[in-house]
Symmetry: C2
Subunit: 465 residues, 2 copies
C-alpha cells in the first residue's frame, strides 16, 4: 500500500531523503514512513495525562504512526509514587538533571503556570520543541512563548489545550483566510457539560450530578475551576489570542457559576425548545471583545444543543468561509495523550523540514541562537476590554406563596425594558420566563426590584436565539 | 500586536530569517509576516471557482493574510469569454504557453479528470506545487499524484476537494493518531442537502425543489452528478484513500438516487424523530469496506440531522480519539476559493521550510529531480471490495385502494426476517414503516414480494439508529 520510497531514516540531519520521508506522511500515502525513526521524549509531569502519554508510547500507537517514541526522562514531584505506566529510564524531581537529558522534543503535562513556564522557557531558549496541553500556560504566556520558539527556530504546539480531542487550533493558525474569525460560541468545559447532561437525564440535585462527575474522574480535587468558569475562561482567552484578536482582560469577563443550575432548569429549557449548555461566547466589537461564560439557553436545533456528556464543541463565524463547527471529546487523559503525540509528530516533522539539528540539547548549546533574545518583541499593547453583550434571557421565577400572574411578570420585566415572549405554567412554586434582549445590569436591577416589591426570587440565564 | 521579527521577505531562497517569517504565521503571533512576499499564481480554469479565486486575490484577502498573490496566467477554453473578475495579464487556451510561465504555485480549478490530470502531472514533475478543489481528480489519481509530488520535493494540496469550507483533510493527513479512522458518516453533497431541506421546509415536488437549487446556482447544467450520487461517491473514495484504507472499487458501491424522495417522505422522517439526509457512510470491515450512499433516515439528535441547507458535515469514529464531528459550507465558489488560497499559503510556506527554490519553473527544469520517476511505486494493489452494510430501514408504503393493516405489513416484512418497530397512520394512500435490520437484497426481495402479492408499492431508505 505504501507509496513512499522506503529509505530508512535513522539520522536526524536533513537530507532530500529525510525530507521525502517526512513529507510522505503528510498526504495520501503515508504508511511505512519514518519506520526507523526514534523520537526521544522528555516528559514534564507524570500525573493522569503524563501516565496516559507513557502508556500510549508503550502501546502500538507509536508504531502505528510509523514513529518509535521513547521516553528518556520524566520530571515529577515525587519519583517514588506508584504510577499506572511503565517507569521511564530516568525519573527525577531535579529540574536541572531533567534539562541535561537529550531530547528530540519535550511534552509538558504538568499544568498550571509555574514551574511549567520557567522550564518551557528554558527548553525553547535551547531550541528544543515543546508540545503542551496546558491551557493556563498558553492563555497566560502563549504569545511570548510562541515568539521565543520562532526566535529560536523551534516549535511550540498546544493543540490539546482547548477541545483536546479535536485538531483545529493548529489548522486555523496555519490558514489565515479560514481563521479570520469574528465570533465563536463554544462548549469548552467537559465536566460542566457532563453535569448539565446528568441533571437533564437523571434529575436529582446539583450535588448529586457533581458527585457522579467526581466518580468518573472528571473533576480536579477542587472542582471550582470547572464549575465557576476559570477553565473555560482560560480557553476563551487562549482562543481570542490564537484568532489574532489579542490578549483579553480576564478581570472584566462575566462568568456565571454552574452551581446555580437545577435539574428543573435544565428540563424546563428543553421543554421550551432549547437546552441549557455551559457556553463561552466571544465576538469582536468596536474597541474590544464582547464575551461571557456560563450556563446558557441555546436553541434545540443548533449543534451546541446536541452536545451531550463530556463532549466539547465550537461554532466559528468567519469572514471568508461563514459558519464552521467542530466537536469531539474535550478532555480525558487518553484523548489528550493522543493529541499530544500527534503534536509531537508534527513538531518533529517540522523540525526535519527546517533542517533542524534534531533538537539535541547538547548541540543546541553549542550553536548560537538564530536571533538574540533582545530582538524579541516586548509585551504587546494593553489587553482588550471585555464587555458583556446584550442577549435575551431565560429566567427561573420562584415564589413562596401566591402564583405570580403573567400580567405581573410582564409588568415587572417590562419596566426594565424587556419584552416577555413566554411564561410557563406554575409547577412546584416555579415559573420560567423567556424574556427579550437586555443588558446584564438591567437584568440584575430587575431581579433586585422583583425581589424587593414582589418577593419573587429570580435566577436569569443568558439565551442565544 | 505582531510578535514576529519584521524582516522583509522578498527573496525566495531559504535563510534563517525566511524560516522565522514563515513559521511566524503558524502560531499565535502571525500578523505582519510575509508582508513583502509576492506569490505568483498560475490558474487552471476561469469558471465559477477560478473567477472567485481571481476576485479573492484582487480583494483585501491576500493582504489580510500577509501575502501578495498575483495571478500570472490563466489557462481557459475560450480566452474571449466575458468573466466576472479582472483579466489576468496572460490568458490562454494553449497548454504549452501556460506551462512556460513562472509560478510559485498553480491552482487547479478546471474540474474533471482530463486535461487536469495531464497538466497537474507535468507541473508536479517540474516541482511546481499544485492546489486543487478537484475531487474527481484526487479520488481517481490522488495517490499517484501525491507520490509524484513527494518524489519531486513539492506539494499537492486538496483541502477544497471535500467539504470545501472546512479544513480537516490536511490536518488529519498530518496527524496519524487522530486520523486512525475506522468509520465515517457524512453529508458530502450540498446540493442534495439543499433539495431535501427545501422539500421539508417548503413542501412541493422534487422538480420544484430542484428548480430552486438551480435558481441559486447550486447545480451543474446536468444535475445528475449531484442527484445520483457520483459527486458523493468521488468524495467517499477520496476519504477512504486519505484515511489510509486504500482505493475502493467504485463499481460495487450502493448508491440510491435522490430523485426517489418526496416532501412527504422528508416530513414523515421528521415526524418519526429523525431526518432524511443525503448520507455517505463507510466503515472498515474484514477484507474491505462497508459503504453506501443515498438519502438516509438519521436520528434527530445526531449532528448530521441538524445540517440544513447546503451545509456539509462528517462524523468520524477514530481508534484513539473517539467521535469527532466537523461541519460547514460544502461548496460554493467563494468558500472554495478561500480554501484554495489557504492551501496555497500552506504550500508556499512548506516550500520555504524545505528550502525549495521558490518553485521557479525555469529553475526547476535545470535542477535534476531528487528521485527518478522509475523509483515511484507502481499502482497499488487491487482496489478494496465494497459491500453494503446491514441497517434498519425507513419504508414508504403506497397503496392504491384498501389500507394495509399493521398486521399485513408486519407479516410481509416479517417473512423477509425484519421486525417492524413502527407503522404510521394512513394518510393520502401512504403509510411509513420503521423496520429492523436487513440486507439490501432481502429488502429488495421483500419489496418485490409485497408488490406481487399485495400490490403495495414500497420505497425503502436506509436508517441509522
Amino acid at each position: 500500500m505504501s507509496s513512499c520510497p522506503a529509505e530508512s531514516q535513522t539520522s536526524v540531519s536533513i537530507s532530500p531523503a529525510a525530507r521525502t520521508a517526512a513529507r510522505c506522511t503528510a498526504g495520501l500515502p503515508r504508511e511505512a514512513a519514518w519506520s526507523q525513526r526514534r523520537i526521544r521524549i522528555g516528559l514534564l509531569g507524570l500525573g493522569n495525562i503524563g501516565q496516559a502519554v507513557a502508556r500510549l508510547v508503550a502501546s502500538a500507537a507509536g508504531a502505528h504512526a510509523g514513529v518509535h517514541f521513547h521516553i528518556e526522562c520524566a520530571l515529577v514531584r515525587d519519583p517514588s509514587r506508584a504510577r499506572a505506566c511503565d517507569r521511564p529510564p530516568c525519573i527525577t524531581n531535579n529540574v536541572s538533571a531533567f534539562l541535561h537529558g537529550r531530547y528530540d522534543l519535550v511534552i509538558e503535562a504538568m499544568g498550571g503556570i509555574e514551574p511549567a513556564l520557567t522550564i518551557v522557557t528554558q527548553l525553547l531558549e535551547r531550541g528544543i520543541p515543546v508540545v503542551t496541553a496546558n491551557k493556563t500556560l498558553i492563555a497566560t504566556a502563549g504569545q511570548e512563548l510562541q515568539a521565543l520558539a520562532v526566535a529560536r527556530g523551534t516549535t511550540l504546539r498546544y493543540e490539546a489545550s482547548a477541545i483536546a480531542g479535536v485538531p483545529f487550533l493548529g489548522t486555523l493558525a496555519a490558514r489565515p483566510l479560514v481563521s479570520s474569525i469574528d465570533r465563536f460560541t463554544a462548549v469548552l468545559n467537559g465536566t460542566s457539560n457532563f453535569i448539565l447532561t446528568a441533571l437533564e437525564e437523571h434529575g436529582g440535585t446539583f450535588a448529586h450530578a457533581l458527585a457522579l462527575a467526581q466518580q468518573r474522574g472528571l473533576t480536579e480535587p477542587d472542582p471550582a475551576r470547572d464549575l465557576d468558569g476559570d477553565d473555560a475562561a482560560d480557553k476563551l482567552a487562549l482562543l481570542t489570542s490564537v484568532f489574532g484578536w489579542g490578549r483579553v482582560d480576564r478581570a472584566s469577563l462575566e462568568g456565571r457559576s454552574l452551581r446555580d443550575v437545577s435539574s428543573r432548569d435544565v428540563r424546563a429549557a428543553r421543554a421550551l425548545g432549547g437546552a441549557l449548555k455551559p457556553v463561552a461566547l466571544a465576538s469582536r466589537a468596536a474597541g474590544g471583545v464582547e464575551a461571557f461564560i456560563g450556563p446558557t439557553w441555546v436553541p434545540a436545533h443548533t449543534p451546541l444543543a446536541a452536545l451531550g456528556g463530556t463532549l466539547n464543541g465550537i461554532e466559528l463565524h468567519g469572514r471568508y468561509v461563514g459558519d464552521l463547527f467542530f466537536s469531539g471529546p474535550g478532555a480525558g487523559p487518553d484523548v489528550t495523550a493522543a493529541t499530544l503525540l500527534d503534536d509531537a509528530i508534527e513538531a518533529v516533522r517540522e523540525g526535519d523540514r527546517s533542517g533542524g539539528s534534531g533538537f539535541d540539547f547538547a548541540q543546541a548549546k553549542k550553536d548560537p541562537p538564530p536571533h538574540p533574545v533582545s530582538q524579541l518583541p516586548s509585551r504587546p499593547r494593553e489587553p482588550l476590554r471585555i464587555t458583556a453583550p446584550i442577549t435575551p434571557w431565560f429566567i427561573r421565577v420562584e415564589f413562596p406563596g401566591v402564583v405570580p400572574t403573567v400580567g405581573v411578570l410582564t409588568d415587572v420585566f417590562g419596566r426594565a425594558g424587556m419584552t416577555i415572549e413566554h411564561v410557563t405554567d406554575a409547577i412546584d412554586g416555579t415559573r420560567y420566563v423567556l424574556a427579550g434582549p437586555a443588558r446584564r445590569e438591567r437584568m440584575d436591577a430587575a431581579i433586585h426590584d422583583v425581589w424587593r416589591v414582589h418577593r419573587l426570587r429570580c435566577v436569569a440565564f443568558r439565551r442565544l436565539g
